[in-house]
């Protein structure tokens, strides 16, 4: 175990209150993967009123110490202005964080996944105009995540027999064995997903279903709460805002 790490780039995935004024933080870092640490006194405000609490979706330069599983965060300097995600962008950001939190093991570095995460967060931009991620971007992230964890989709040949996939064929996909002759997906869809061509709505729908099945398999019974929350949110988000009459208190 590393005793001391200085100036490592990383993001906050999640924090929860710890003791009186500290936070228990889950970080996703470039060279050390997911790291859990105690950030001391971050819930207190300084004398000037400034809060030192870490914000998710913002890149930090992090330094920590400690031999065991739980590290002690000694310094965190923001490398970019804070991102205040709103509405759909916020919910998709939470989904990315929960995927990493649930599937990536502690202290396993995944630089490729890190750069994909960083790139997607970059798409949000800063400020009020944050754009939500589109479906293709979410699917791309899920595929990179599975690849990095060693559970990558095999979409060029059948799982058991090793025969190449035919565009005209029909297949099912099993998370443990791969594509097998069946009826759920067309060969054409699977080949398009493999090539990352997600422009067509049918291919996107197939990719969503396929990746959900595989991710659920690897979650091993754990639930992705942000997914259900996002769906509920989208269901009710079709309503237009009702003008708010300014009231005098």
């Amino acid at each position: 175990m590393v005793d001391r790490v200085e100036g490592e780039a990383g993001y906050l995935l999640h924090s929860r209150p710890y003791r009186e004024s500290s936070q228990l933080v889950d970080l996703f870092t470039l060279n050390h993967g997911r790291v859990r640490a105690v950030a001391k006194a971050t819930r207190q405000r300084s004398k000037r009123g400034a809060s030192s609490a870490l914000l998710p979706f913002c890149c930090y330069q992090l330094s920590w110490r400690g031999r065991g599983e739980l590290k002690s965060l000694v310094r965190a300097e923001a490398l970019e202005p804070g991102r205040f995600l709103r509405e759909q962008a916020l919910f998709s950001g939470l989904y990315l964080n929960e995927l990493i939190f649930r599937l990536v093991h502690e202290h396993d570095p995944h630089p490729q996944l890190y750069s994909c995460y960083q790139q997607l967060l970059g798409q949000f931009g800063y400020g009020a105009a944050a754009q939500p991620l589109d479906e293709a971007q979410l699917r791309q992230f899920e595929m990179v995540l599975l690849d990095e964890l060693g559970y990558g989709l095999v979409l060029d040949c059948e799982g058991v027999s090793g025969k190449p996939l035919l565009a005209a064929g029909r297949y099912d996909y099993r998370a443990d064995t791969g594509a097998v002759p069946g009826r759920h997906f067309s060969g054409e869809q699977l080949l398009a997903i493999a090539a990352g061509e997600l422009q067509q709505p049918q291919v996107r729908a197939a990719a969503k279903q396929l990746l959900r099945t595989v991710i659920d398999f690897h979650l091993d019974g754990k639930t992705l709460h942000s997914r259900a929350l996002y769906r509920h949110y989208l269901d009710s988000d079709t309503a237009q805002p009702i003008p708010f009459a300014q009231r005098q208190p």
């Binding site: 995935l13 999640h14 929860r16 202005p81 919910f91 709460h225 309503a239």
Partner: protein, 197 residues
């Protein structure tokens, strides 16, 4: 170390926030040596409070009886409903004054990673309230953390679907604050949520 009763008391005192082993021992010895009447009063009031204090059936804050004093106050308007995360937030707004509507206390916030969803923070009760048509305006006073923002956006989407106007409390420069000393995130948020005067 001191005998089973004292050890039990010391362990029991440690349930309080910010009280560790050393403080618990100091409190226990102080109560037993110098203030036995105070200790008896503390014990009786704890039992009394645990027995009598429940949650308001209307706003979920801590209260004695069926409804809290705010919900049963006829001078307050039930058309405005302010959403807060904890009873402490409710007290803070009450102390600040200037608000005369009702509250709804979530007793937490949405946090997918912690497995806290809409049911855990009483949103079905809130939605029933919104559907009943008694609320005209919803004021979201959840914390300015990612979880608080998630909760606010989620509730606002549900409220819009129910046809209720929603507002979020303003965020920005504190009163008497000097821009030079304000942290950059707060300042950038204040810049984004500027308003016409």
């Amino acid at each position: 170390m001191y005998g089973p009763s004292i050890d039990r008391l010391i362990t029991a005192l440690r349930v309080m926030p910010g009280i560790g082993a050393k403080s618990a021992q100091r409190i226990a010895l102080q109560l037993l040596e110098r203030n036995r009447d105070g200790a008896a009063e503390l014990a009786a009031s704890l039992i009394d409070a645990v027995d009598k204090v429940g949650n308001c059936s209307s706003c979920r804050t801590l209260c004695e009886g069926e409804r809290c004093t705010i919900c049963s106050d006829s001078r307050r308007s039930a058309q405005q409903l302010c959403i807060v995360e904890t009873p402490a937030d409710l007290f803070a707004i009450e102390q600040a004054g200037g608000y005369s509507g009702h509250y709804f206390v979530l007793m937490g916030h949405l946090s997918p990673i912690d497995g806290i969803g809409p049911e855990e923070i009483g949103l079905p009760i809130l939605e029933a309230k919104l559907a009943s048509g008694e609320v005209d305006e919803l004021i979201l006073a959840t914390n300015l953390t990612v979880e608080g923002e998630t909760t606010a956006h989620y509730i606002s989407s549900r409220a819009r679907a129910a046809g209720v106007a929603v507002s979020r409390i303003a965020h920005g420069v504190p009163l008497g604050g000097e821009l030079e000393y304000i942290d950059s995130n707060t300042l950038s948020l204040a810049m984004q949520s500027r308003k016409v005067i």
